[in-house]
Amino acid sequence: MGKLLRLPTSDHKLIKQCRRGDQRAQREMYDRFSPQMLSVCRRYVRTLEDAEEVLSNAFIKVFSKIDQYSGEGSLGGWIRRIMVNEALNFIRYQKNLFVEVEEENHSGFAHQSLNEQFNEEHLLKLIDELPLGYKTVFNLYAIEGYTHKEIGEMLGISDNTSKSQLSKARKHLQQRLGNNELLYKEQ
């Protein structure tokens, strides 16, 4: 297969091909978006394994629902929404299975240098440490950008609960990052 240099297909064309069930196009779409989407999923669940499970379930939905993509908003954004929904489903499913015991990790990160602190892996780890409720709301609000109202609907909680979960999450994270560092943070 001499397809070494293949220009990426435009979003529009790719969508059209995926609608036809073109496997090569589906693979291309997957390759293009999956790394970022895996990171999204990873923020919501506790292990990489779980994240991959969410990822695969979500992509299956992406390909079967591709017809429903109206073109409104970017393709990446549409896919991301499906990811988040699938992650939430997964959490709900997990919750039904067992009671989660949250352990608080009090290792001291406060004195690390700024660069190290804002490193992607490090931030991911901080989020990982959060209790499930705080973590979920923080992800949805601060990173995904949903409103409290939307979050309430998605999680089946009230706006106020969403707000309080968010502020608790922030408090936790700030402790980890260290207040001082935050004050001197450069844009």
Binding site: S34, Q36, S39, L55, S56, E120, L124, A142, R170
Partner: protein
């Protein structure tokens, strides 16, 4: 308008574009669950299925020769035990094992895919019937003919196994003592007789070529026409026209 929280921003900016490479198994799982391909994708599937069906049909057609009431794929086990018994009776040494296995492999190689074993060429009445053939130039049959027949079979066999499309090369040695071996207890006698009879070599070569052809085309094998009466008569009627 939302007030932008500094903390939120740190996380958002650093994690929005973060990537983690998924393992291959993820795609495998997705691929397995994808909805069926539509339109021409569907046509391709039908074509493939049809090709496989055709190949299976061809292979069964080539396997069973309708002109035989008793198919050549008979009872290998029976023959096996008969020959086993004969072997035990005879005290002859097994010199020919090398040639035997060489020959075995080539014919077995052909037979295996059919999932039933056809016993190797055993026209001999007495055991270690290693009738092996041919003199030094190895003209085992016209190889051109062989190739054609092989190609036909290979098409059929591809369903079961990947065979390389090479013509079978059968390397054999002429062992006159083996050729006559069953008839004399002592080796000297047999060698002597072989030397006395130069025609024997030609006959042996011709016979083996014919039988090999038969073997490949699925026809039944034939006992050689000998001048002397075999000492032991065993009923192999199913397998040989004699």
């Amino acid at each position: 308008m939302k007030e932008e929280n500094r903390l939120d921003k740190i996380f958002k900016e650093n994690l929005s574009d973060h990537e983690i490479k998924p393992s291959e198994s993820v795609w495998d799982r997705i691929e397995g669950e994808l909805p069926q391909q539509k339109k021409r994708g569907g046509g391709l599937y039908v074509m493939r299925a049809a090709t496989v069906a055709l190949l299976i049909g061809l292979s069964t057609w080539f396997t069973f020769d309708p002109s035989q009431p008793d198919s050549t794929l008979g009872n290998p086990t029976n023959i096996g035990t008969q020959i086993q018994k004969e072997k035990e009776k005879n005290k002859e040494k097994e010199k020919g094992t090398k040639e035997k296995s060489g020959k075995d492999k080539t014919s077995e190689k052909k037979e295996n895919p059919k999932k039933e074993t056809i016993p190797i060429l055993r026209p001999r009445v007495k055991s270690n019937s290693k009738l092996l053939v041919s003199a030094d130039p190895v003209p085992v049959v016209a190889e051109e003919e062989l190739e054609d027949e092989l190609l036909m079979d290979q098409v059929a066999l591809r369903v079961d196994e990947e065979l390389k499309p090479e013509p079978l090369r059968v390397k054999v040695r002429y062992r006159p003592d083996m050729a006559i071996g069953a008839f004399y207890e002592e080796e000297e006698q047999t060698t002597a007789e072989a030397e006395e009879n130069p025609e024997l070599k030609e006959r042996v070569v011709a016979y083996a070529s014919d039988q090999f052809n038969n073997l490949i085309s699925g026809k039944p094998l034939e006992l050689p026409k000998t001048e002397k009466k075999p000492r032991l008569e065993v009923n192999l009627g199913k397998w040989f026209n004699n």
